[in-house]
Amino acid sequence: MSGLEVEGLRFRGLGPLSLSISAGQCVALMGASGVGKTLLLRALSDLDPHEGVVRLDGVDGNEIPAHVWRSRLGMLPAESAWWADDLGAHFSTQVDLAPLGFGPDAFAREVSRFSTGERQRLALARLLASEPRALLLDEPTASLDPENAERVEAILEAYRVRHDAPVLWVSHDVAQARRVASSVLELTPEGLTQAT
């Protein structure tokens, strides 16, 4: 089956959790702060030890090298992090940053000179440039103003449609969750439930 399938996922005392996101579908994930939404994304990306099976397009994550798995899964952390001084050093190819509101000169600038919100958008550009098969988004618009939040939503929508990508979108904003996703899940200490 194509898409993302999760069966019996257990991590840090949570679970077993199961969910399924078909190719091209966006599922929003809501839940109180500290309930473990970020931990769920980290477990799916295999950044934290976990039990259970995660499959992407029928391939079990444990059967391929971890770095290949992560390059397909495409997780965007809530806070962006950078390892070199210049922005350009973080991209293997120069991508078009215009849809995010940056000119081509941005690549030569130092990362520290961008604001938190700008870095958040640039981290999204960096992720999409690596063309992951699926997207796991941890509050991708949390530090953005409404105009830029709208831009990011449009870019993610376009990516999902063009690549037929399954998307798991963590959000605190009910209106956004309803807007971007075809299904909204809520994570509680008891497990995942369909939000109404």
Binding site: S45, D46, L47, D48, P49, P65, A66, H67, V68, R70, S71, R72, G74, M75, L76, P77, E79, S80, A81, W82, W83, A84, A123, R126, L127, S130, P132
Partner: protein, 262 residues
């Protein structure tokens, strides 16, 4: 060669005592430490002198192995104790010990076999001082390199995980930190090579000249030692940083900071 009398050493110790007294009255809080390390210096070096005399007179392989084994263990403990966040458990000692072993011991063996050409090649009179010089310098480099690496890995967890999430391998995800750590470990030896003879007369050469060797002989030995130290330190730092970087990830290329102490 002019022999030192015990009185000469007493005169030198008066200077250290004067420093300790000054430190006491200036409330630097170093007086006690100064006295303790001075006494340690005297006792440790006297003991080493006795052991070396025994070793040089007999050339017993078992005694030689015992001495170099102790040197390596003490150096490994020292490497670990100089780090704020050493690798947890036995790894904290063994990574340092292994890196120093492969670099210092192989460089010493090479120098003894090829350059110095004594018979037998492990003649303690050459082997022990050479290994001591190499181990001492490699130890500084290895502890600097490893502590720089483990601390920056701890501080830059987010950046390392960002690279992992983009599909970088565990080795690639720390490449920027490993380069920095290796450079840090090599700075002291690179500096001392650059300044050798101009700013400072290296300790070994000074000692030889004071003991009566012709300066050019002392210089030749010093050049040999410098090159050996540079290569020993360099390879030791490379191995130790690489091993630390490998240890910080598990089989699924997850960053495992729980494998650090502190």
């Amino acid at each position: 060669m002019i022999s030192l009398t015990p009185l000469d050493l007493v005169l030198a110790s008066v200077l250290v005592l004067a420093l300790a007294l000054t430190s006491h009255f200036a409330a630097l809080g170093l007086a006690r430490t100064l006295v303790v390390v001075s006494v340690r210096t005297v006792v440790q070096l006297l003991l080493v002198g006795l052991v070396l005399r025994q070793l040089f007179e007999t050339t017993r392989v078992s005694l030689l192995l015992l001495v170099v084994g102790i040197m390596l263990i003490v150096a490994a403990r020292e490497v670990r104790s100089r780090q704020a966040r050493p690798l947890a458990g036995a790894w904290g000692y063994s990574v340092g010990a292994l890196s120093m072993f492969v670099s210092s011991f192989s460089v010493t063996a090479l120098a003894l076999l090829v350059v110095i050409d004594a018979t037998p090649w492990y003649l303690p009179q050459y082997a022990i001082p050479l290994l001591g010089m190499l181990l001492g310098n490699t130890m500084s480099g290895v502890s600097l390199g490893m502590s720089r690496f483990t601390e920056s890995a701890y501080r830059e967890k987010a950046a390392i995980e960002a690279r992992l999430l983009l599909g970088h391998t565990a080795q690639a995800a720390t490449s920027h930190l490993r380069v920095e750590a290796v450079r840090t470990g090599l700075v002291p030896i690179v500096n001392s090579m650059a300044a050798a003879g101009i700013v400072s007369l290296p300790g070994m050469m000074t000692g030889q000249i004071l003991a009566g060797s012709p300066p050019v002989e002392a210089v030749k030995y010093q050049i040999l030692i410098m090159f050996l130290i540079a290569s020993g330190t360099g390879f030791g730092v490379l191995v130790s940083v690489w091993l630390s970087a490998t240890r910080l990830f598990d089989e699924r290329e997850r960053l495992r900071l729980d494998r650090l102490d502190g």
